[in-house]
């Protein structure tokens, strides 16, 4: 894991994938409406998985907004930390 995944790092990653500025992405905006497509989303999921968590496209694709995605990632990161601490 090269760097920590945070809400803001996720916002920046998504913005780069769509080609817009990070501040244009609200926490509850529909990312598809902002121009994110399934393949780019898949690439992001794959990238965030490099942090050591198991993220699947299936769980991320149902609700496509930053807040929901961050919640999933945060939960998994917490579980990972708990497991590592055990």
């Amino acid at each position: 894991m090269s760097e920590a995944i945070t809400l803001e790092s996720m916002r920046a990653d998504i913005a780069a994938a769509i080609g817009i500025a990070p501040e244009e992405i609200g926490d509850h905006d529909n990312l598809a409406d902002l121009g994110l497509d399934s393949i780019r989303a898949m690439m992001l999921v794959d990238r965030w998985s490099e942090a050591g968590i198991t993220l699947t496209f299936a769980e991320m694709a149902e609700q496509v907004e930053l807040a929901a995605w961050h919640a999933i990632v945060a939960r998994k990161l917490a579980a990972l930390a708990a497991g590592a601490g055990r």
């Binding site: 080609g19 529909n30 990312l31 598809a32 121009g35 994110l36 497509d37 399934s38 393949i39 780019r40 989303a41 898949m42 690439m43 999921v45 794959d46 998985s49 198991t54 699947t56 496209f57 299936a58 769980e59 991320m60 694709a61 149902e62 609700q63 496509v64």
Partner: protein
């Protein structure tokens, strides 16, 4: 683990289960499957090899749990009132089956066979059994997990989701860890979403997007020809890409700022582009439609297929190409819910021939390539993923782009197994090269092994040929067999010795004119011994000969002479009018004045030019191909050996010398010791005469252009002929013609191919009786010749794919004389040859069959062939726009109902210019173009139709039978009815027929005239004569005639002595005198072509009852002159006479001159003075009937059995000809007039007319006996023209195209001199 709650699962067992609607995606599969209920094509399946200690109980539990979670696996389908529905029914759920095959000899094979059998079960959803879960036990630590899911229950994403869930549940159970994946969501959420979308504004937006995105979508072609309809099975070939590929792929993805799956779509799209040609390829991209959807966590069928346009700009960087395709993909996905089926319907692209997209490109990045199962090594293989319409390229990889594998699934009705495998291998190499390339343009299509096969192996034609010249070879033969028969012409035979002497004598005369090595000698002679000797004499001196077709217009001949600058023109005085004033002509005839052999004659060199042959040039002027000795020597020596030509062979020379086929006909026999049999001029157009000649001269080798071969085979005299070898070239040889040949003629048939630019022929194919090729190939290269099939960037194309044929090797021409620019354009460096070697770009489209034989597919440009004559559309268009008054012109080759091609021109008159007519344009074209290049129809338009991007829209050009004039709408009731009858007869829209429209210019002919008359009689209840439409061809005039008839004012005007053929009143009138039969209707076409001038036909007395026929020809001439005087009112009168009418015309001219009436031009169409006929036997009934048939444009031989008057009338009526409808008494009158005229002609002695005759001779009919010089005693001067037609064809549209301009010039001259 508990099953998730489902809104619809709560119902009691006694209730009727709730009907669920199918998703739109499911409906697509439903209807496709219902077309073929037994087809297994929509079964999808896979297996996973499980290596390691499998906990079978845990595995069974995992499967059971996942199956319980997946609503789709508990679906039963039913059909109510014709509509499909589905219900949840737990009885429909698959149970895990365990099959132990460990006891079989080859457990893996047994499992494979069992899976294959299961995959082959019929797919009808109404039968149930839509899913299977099976575990094969191969041995203790090896299992095979097989799943089958009908496409109606799951798409690729759904299957992968199910697999991943089962694998995860197994891992959890086996390891005691919690599962990492979540349970599936309910299907109902997916169904609600699907239903909501139907009525959403989103759907309307999506629909608009597709309408715009697909505007101007090209016609879709696949990688193979044939309709793309779902097959029951498919071929599957897979290729793994090397591990190094992933890094390059990621590099390109980063450069293009595109996700790697989109990079792959872009590159596979570019690969597809290599097969379809054009500016873009359209592929189908499966879209999983899960992003932002409830279906993300549901195994279901919601997948859609989106059309994607892939631009094929191969010059920009690969990254730019990828970025552009990725942008298109991103936009498409945003609107990806709108079903492909709906897009297809809205664009009207239904059925296998009208497709929305070509091959599918399916990149699957969403799941790990290999399921992760605790303690097990896994390997997943896909068995099938749904029906394959055409060909599907699937790329499997892990989400990070590693482990790339290509799978190619191909429809077996379109692709062979080897072809499928070749695609997989070639695509793998293509992708590896493309990710490392700067531009796509630099990426070859073929693998190295394929390129070696296509360029080197198929062209292994090296053969030793001596460095020599045509004359050296023929001269050697003269010395070797001096007493053998070298040449036959009519009744004359020339030995090789005599031939050598004649050539020597002519060569000396040419040398005396200054002809030497490197010069050009134009040869403008009819086919004869003299022609052959003159050509040989030129070759003897090291000069090239340039054949001039005597039928070509002087303007075209002048253009050739300007380019070629011949040192001498070998011709005779008869043809002086063809050459520019002051041209010096060298006589071909030996006249005893052979210059002494003052010095040794020069000799030719192998690199010297042998001949210059002109072909049509797209830039508007003909281009002269210069062929060297070494090139033609290669061709002739190849042919001598290939077909074992030698002494004893008799080869017919019948091709006009201006076609290069004549080159082998002329010289192959002479260098092989065989006999050259020269056909008399014009015989090559007459199948009966040819058949007779071939039989009587025992011809052993002869050439036919295929269209002429078809006519020849239709000739009864050809049946049963034995001809050892028949060669075809010049056009495609249709397979049916090959088969017909072998039914009719005993002998070999060979199909040869080659352009003039490569010494006659470069490929050959034995079209034997046993050959069932369709199409008939043009075959394999001749000696020292390489044939390449290349794409637009000169890259070799795969076998079976169309490309442009290029020729390299010994036979290439030197180039186009005087046109280094054109030469450089067509003769380009050979990228596969030694440095300095050239190749010729033929412009022909071709492809190689799997056996390497080449098939000709057509032209890549505007070149067409009509009866074997090569024509550049551009030259015809340039001639039209060069006429003045024409702003734009487009010319097309259109096939008529019988499949025969004809040129149709579309012209737009210049703004503010004089009005143009089709007939006048055709007449003007005849002054610059040879006959074959003159359009059969000219359509005048206000503007040419263009496509959205401003190009000429050829498809929108109307059929030529359309109206030719805009004008006054029909006014009176009679006019309206007549217009409607014209339209009905000719199959036109009545609204487009105007009052001034001419029945014949609208497309009518004599057969249609008879049809029109039936309709007119029924509509008006009048007795109307058939000639009325010839006499009154426009709607307005015909209607007036009908009105007059109904008012009882008219009797048979069409049988009167003076029949007006036009309504024009101003200008000097033209009188056309009837031929033997006494009717003048045959001049109707001439009258139209002459345009705005009063034209009358003079018809014989005696056609109507109670009228006596003329008593003498003098009396007839007096009668006609007096009749004319009444209408000419002192004006000059021009006279035209065909056949007997010509004799009368001369007599009238003399009579008018004697009376002091101004005589204009006197034109005779194939007429000869009366004394010629005096000793001929008097005509009988048969001759009269023959004359009658000729009036109708038929020949006597067309009637089977005995020729009686009844048979002739039956024949004419059966053919629907107007004459057949004449009353019995009129036909009797015609027969009497024929006999009477014959008698009058024999009794008549011509009076001298001290003026000039313009004479047109039917050269195709007459040998040397009859010509214009026979008139010399009876007139002051004769201007003679030879036309390549028969007597009966002199008023045909084709002949008129030549005659009318000459006539108009003569009329203008005579008008001006008064």
């Amino acid at each position: 683990m508990t099953a998730p709650t489902r809104g619809l699962a709560a119902q009691g067992p006694a209730e009727r289960p709730e009907r669920w609607p199918l998703t739109e995606a499911q409906l697509g599969i439903w209807f496709a499957q219902r077309i073929d209920p037994d087809s297994p094509a929509y079964q999808t399946g896979q297996y996973v090899v499980l290596d390691g200690a499998l906990d079978r109980a845990a595995f069974a539990a995992a499967v059971r749990t996942a199956v319980d979670e997946a609503d789709v696996l508990a679906l039963r389908f039913l059909e109510e009132d014709g509509a499909p529905a589905m219900v949840r029914d737990e009885d429909a759920q698959p149970m895990l089956e365990v099959v132990d095959v460990s006891g079989t000899g080859d457990p893996f094979a047994a499992a494979m066979a069992s899976m294959a059998a299961d995959m082959a079960r019929p797919g009808d959803p109404l039968r149930g059994g839509l899913a299977a879960e099976r575990l094969y036990v191969l041995r203790n630590e090896r299992h095979l997990w097989y799943q089958r899911l009908h496409h109606i229950v799951a798409d690729g994403y759904g299957t992968a989701l199910l697999t991943a869930r089962i694998a995860d549940l197994y891992s959890a159970l086996a390891s005691g860890e919690p599962p990492r994946t979540a349970a599936f969501g309910p299907l109902l959420g997916v169904l609600r979403e699907d239903a909501d979308y139907q009525t959403s504004t989103r759907r309307a937006v999506d629909r608009d997007y597709w309408a715009k995105a697909l505007d101007g979508l090209p016609e879709i072609v696949g990688l193979a020809s044939g309709p793309a309809l779902a097959a029951r099975t498919h071929h599957r070939c897979a290729m793994d890409l090397p591990a190094s590929f992933a890094a390059r792929l990621q590099g390109l993805a980063a450069e293009a700022k595109a996700p790697w799956p989109d990079v792959l779509v872009a590159l596979v799209g570019a690969y597809v582009g290599r097969f379809v040609g054009g500016q873009e390829a359209v592929v189908g991209v499966p879209h999983m439609a899960r992003f932002g959807s409830a279906a993300a966590s549901v195994p279901a069928m919601v997948m859609n297929i989106l059309p994607l346009r892939v631009g094929l700009d191969e010059d920009s960087s690969v990254a730019a190409h990828v970025a552009s395709v990725a942008a298109g993909l991103r936009a498409a996905r945003r609107h990806g819910r709108f079903r492909g089926e709906h897009i297809r319907r809205e664009l009207g692209r239904l059925g296998g021939e009208r497709r929305l997209h070509g091959p599918l490109v399916n990149v699957l990045p969403f799941f790990e390539r290999q399921p992760r199962m605790a303690g097990l090594a896994t390997r997943l293989e896909r068995l099938g993923s749904g029906a394959v319409d055409d060909i599907t390229f699937t790329i499997l990889a892990s989400p990070s782009g590693q482990d790339c594998r290509i799978e190619v699934d191909a429809n077996p009705t379109l692709y062979g197994r080897e072809e499928t495998k070749a695609h997989a291998e070639r695509l793998a190499v293509f992708l590896e090269r493309a990710v490392a390339a700067a531009t796509l343009g630099s990426v070859p299509t073929l693998t190295e092994a394929e390129e070696r096969a296509e360029i080197v192996a198929v062209n292994d034609t090296a053969h030793k040929v001596p460095e020599t010249t045509l004359w050296a070879l023929i001269g050697g033969q003269i010395e070797a067999t001096p007493d053998a028969a070298a040449m036959r012409f009519e009744r004359e035979t020339l030995t090789y010795r005599a031939l050598g002497e004649a050539v020597d004598a002519t060569a000396r005369r040419l040398a005396a004119e200054g002809v030497g090595r490197g010069d050009i000698v134009a040869v403008a002679l009819p086919r004869s011994i003299g022609m052959v000797v003159t050509m040989l004499a030129a070759l003897r001196l090291g000069a090239a000969y340039l054949p001039i077709d005597l039928g070509h217009p002087p303007a075209r001949i002048a253009a050739m002479l300007r380019l070629a600058q011949p040192r001498a023109i070998a011709s005779d005085e008869r043809h002086r009018h063809l050459f520019p004033a002051g041209s010096r002509l060298v006589s071909a005839r030996a006249n005893g004045t052979v210059p002494p052999p003052a010095r040794a004659l020069p000799a030719a060199e192998p690199t010297g030019a042998a001949y210059v042959i002109f072909t049509s040039g797209s830039t508007g002027e003909p281009k002269g191909v210069v062929v060297e000795h070494r090139a033609i020597v290669n061709r002739l020596l190849w042919m001598r050996e290939q077909y074992a030509i030698g002494p004893g062979d008799r080869i017919l020379q019948k091709t006009p010398a201006s076609f290069d086929v004549s080159v082998w006909e002329l010289f192959l026999p002479l260098l092989a010791g065989a006999t050259l049999v020269v056909a008399p001029p014009e015989v090559h157009k007459d199948p009966a005469a040819l058949a007779a000649l071939i039989g009587s001269e025992r011809i052993s080798a002869v050439h036919f252009v295929p269209s002429m071969l078809a006519q020849f085979l239709a000739e009864p005299l050809a049946a049963g002929l034995a001809i050892a070898r028949v060669f075809c070239s010049g056009e495609e040889l249709p397979a049916w013609l090959r088969d017909r040949f072998h039914e009719i003629v005993r002998g070999e048939l060979h199909n040869l191919y080659g352009p003039t630019e490569a010494a006659v022929d470069v490929s050959y194919w034995p079209a034997s009786a046993g050959d069932d090729s369709r199409p008939v190939p043009i075959g394999f290269p001749v000696w020292n010749t390489r044939l390449y099939v290349l794409d637009g960037r000169l890259r070799p194309v795969p076998r079976g794919v169309a490309g442009q044929l290029h020729i390299a090797g010994a036979q290439l021409a030197r180039g186009y004389i005087g046109r280094p620019d054109l030469t450089a354009e067509r003769f380009v460096p050979d990228p596969f040859g030694a440095p300095g070697e050239r190749m010729y770009a033929t412009g022909d489209l071709a492809r190689r069959r799997t056996d390497g034989a080449i098939e000709f597919l057509g032209r890549a440009d505007g070149q067409v062939k009509i009866r074997g004559v090569r024509i550049e559309i551009g030259e015809v268009e340039a001639a039209l726009t060069g006429l003045g008054g024409i702003a734009e012109a487009a010319v097309l080759l259109r096939k008529d109902a019988a499949g025969e091609g004809r040129l149709v021109a579309y012209v737009v008159p210049a703004k503010g210019g004089a009005p143009v007519t089709a007939e006048a344009l055709r007449a003007q074209l005849a002054a610059t173009l040879p006959e074959a290049m003159i359009p059969a129809a000219i359509v005048i338009l206000d503007g040419l139709p263009v496509t959205g991007n401003g190009k000429l829209d050829r498809a929108a050009l109307p059929e030529p039978a359309g109206p030719v004039s805009a004008g006054r709408a029909p006014a009176s009731a009679t006019e309206k009815t007549v217009a409607a009858l014209f339209a009905a007869t000719l199959g036109l829209d009545p609204a487009t027929v105007h009052a001034e429209d001419d029945f014949f210019l609208l497309g009518g002919h004599s057969l249609k005239a008879a049809d029109l008359m039936r309709r007119v009689r029924a509509a008006f209840a009048v007795e109307i004569e058939l000639g009325a439409v010839f006499a009154h061809p426009t709607v307005g005039r015909f209607a007036s005639h009908v009105d007059a008839l109904r008012a009882g004012e008219t009797r048979r005007a069409d049988l009167a002595v003076l029949l007006p053929l036009t309504t024009a009143e101003a200008g000097a009138p033209v009188a056309c005198i009837h031929p033997a039969g006494g009717l003048g209707w045959c001049y109707a076409g001439l009258a139209r072509a002459l345009g705005d001038r009063p034209v009358y036909a003079l018809q014989a007395r005696g056609l109507t009852a109670g009228e006596a026929p003329a008593a003498s020809l003098e009396a007839m001439a007096r009668d006609y002159v007096e009749t004319l005087a009444a209408v000419s009112a002192g004006r000059t009168v021009h006279l035209v006479g065909w056949s007997v009418g010509g004799i009368v015309a001369q007599a009238m001219a003399a009579e008018m001159a004697a009376r002091g009436m101004p005589v204009g031009a006197v034109a005779l169409l194939d007429a000869y003075p009366s004394e010629v006929w005096r000793d001929e036997p008097p005509p009988d009934e048969r001759a009269a009937l023959e004359a009658l048939l000729r009036i109708a444009g038929h020949e006597i031989g067309e009637i089977a059995g005995e020729l009686t008057r009844e048979a002739a009338i039956r024949f004419l009526r059966a053919g629907g000809h107007a004459l057949g409808q004449l009353p019995e008494e009129t036909i009797g009158a015609i027969a009497r007039i024929v006999e009477n005229n014959a008698r009058l002609v024999r009794q008549y002695s011509h009076r001298r007319y001290a003026g000039r005759l313009v004479h047109f001779r039917a050269a195709a009919e007459h040998g040397d006996g009859l010509d214009a010089s026979l008139w010399a005693p009876h007139v002051a001067a004769v201007e003679a023209h030879d036309l390549p037609y028969r007597h009966g064809q002199m008023l045909s549209p084709a002949a008129l195209a030549t005659i009318v301009p000459r006539l108009q010039a003569a009329f203008a001259e005579a008008d001006g001199s008064r």
